[in-house]
Symmetry: C2
Subunit: 220 residues, 2 copies
């Protein structure tokens, strides 16, 4: 489903080229549940952003369902991202002037889901995450963990084929973290391919495979 | 050093009053190292913001060094905050248009520290946290964990009497989290009073006491 070949990502300043990812080769099959770990600054978020079509590699090839997506135009990448991918951001990136309800509903609007079904999906997620009372509030009125839960709900609402989760439990209490991981495990058993970045060893073990990234390279 | 008496914090909407903190009574002595724990939405950040003079209680009294600070004007509170308190924010709140170096240096400028000494303090922190290479970058060019480290460096640069840390290790790898907690322990042994909010049981145990907040109240 996902094939990365010799992916490099660097930033060029006037005097030097800072390599963030070097020679990444990766193959991920449909239905897998992968955990990516590594120190701060290793390049994990950068890698996830490239897989999620939110960022471009500087060199190398990315085949998504065998299609060379690194060659696609911006518009086509955005379409792929919206139709196939759910993304849980490390810094949440909720829309500040939309309510909790509207934030979760957004991917369903893009997918053209009918009003009645949208209502049911959002209501179910608000209930599962115990944030029904917050549905009409705005992101700045929520606690850190509540914002993270809204980010998770938004990412899974559209039942994407591929879920990319960047530190999905960083601001959650251990019980809530477990609740989220059990939910991800269930979604994976129902067919969702999941790639998570996590610093939590216990939660990393929910995946079938752990990939370690150190200094921009996959550690063998 | 810190005495909270019958602190309430609520938000009023047209139909109801949402209580975030109810009847909080707390006494914290100089030199203590306290850990606050509890579920998402419990009111922990809200409590820390009130203690840090960044937010006001709706009811009740707050004595800081025996002074009724809840009665102070905005300007006086800001002065207290800058002279006595270091704050590590759950969402970092770095200044986007200042470099890493300038972000860390900011509290030292407020304290009137001389140029040569400022240079030494910032250089030492960049080195300790292994982010010297990032000193001229801006916050958006850093990884999540790197931003968190800059937030921590900024909070402790001015050697404040009181350090308030809201989830200081949420985005750090376990080893880096331990490095930060060992540093906090050392600062506490040198006299700094520390109150941290954390979801991490292991790191909570670095404190001498754990306070549990559930639904806006201290759990006895
Ligand atoms: N402006 C506001 N209007 C309404 N409710 C608010 C507002 N600001 C905060 N709240 C509510 O206050 C409650 C406590 O928030 P707080 O940020 O203190 O939680 P917390 O214990 O730090 O949680 P976390 O562990 O998730 O960071 C939340 O339920 C939040 O929705
Ligand atoms: N625009 C940029 N210019 C220069 N360096 C950058 C830029 N964007 C990112 N970087 C660097 O890329 C590196 C990797 O960042 P990334 O966010 O992928 O790390 P990470 O592994 O997700 O770390 P964390 O666990 O802290 O979230 C960091 O060292 C960062 O400073
Ligand atoms: Mg990251
Ligand atoms: Mg909080």
């Amino acid at each position: 489903m996902i094939r990365l070949e010799e992916i490099d990502k660097y930033y060029s300043s006037k005097f030097q080229r800072i390599f963030v990812l070097k020679g990444i080769n990766l193959e991920i099959e449909q239905g897998e549940f992968i955990s990516i770990m590594g120190p701060s600054g290793a390049g994990k978020s950068t890698l996830l952003n490239i897989i999620g079509l939110l960022d471009e590699p500087s060199e190398g090839a990315y085949y998504f369902y065998d299609e060379p997506v690194h060659k696609l135009k911006e518009k086509k990448k955005t379409e792929y991202h919206r139709n196939h991918i759910g993304f849980i951001f490390q810094a949440y990136h909720l829309i500040e002037d939309l309510t909790v309800y509207e934030n979760i509903e957004t991917p369903l609007l893009y997918k053209g889901v009918k009003g009645k079904e949208r209502k049911a999906i959002v209501a179910d997620l608000l209930d599962r995450f115990n944030i029904v009372a917050k549905k009409d509030l705005f992101p700045q009125q929520l606690s850190g963990g509540q914002q993270q839960l809204v980010g998770i709900a938004r990412a899974i609402a559209g039942k994407p084929n591929l879920l990319l989760a960047d530190e999905p439990t960083g601001n959650l209490h251990t019980d809530q973290g477990k609740m989220i991981m059990d939910l991800l495990k269930q979604l994976n058993e129902e067919g969702m391919t999941i790639i998570q970045v996590t610093h939590n060893q216990e939660f990393a073990n929910y995946g079938s495979k752990i990939i370690n990234i150190v200094d921009g390279m996959v550690e063998e």
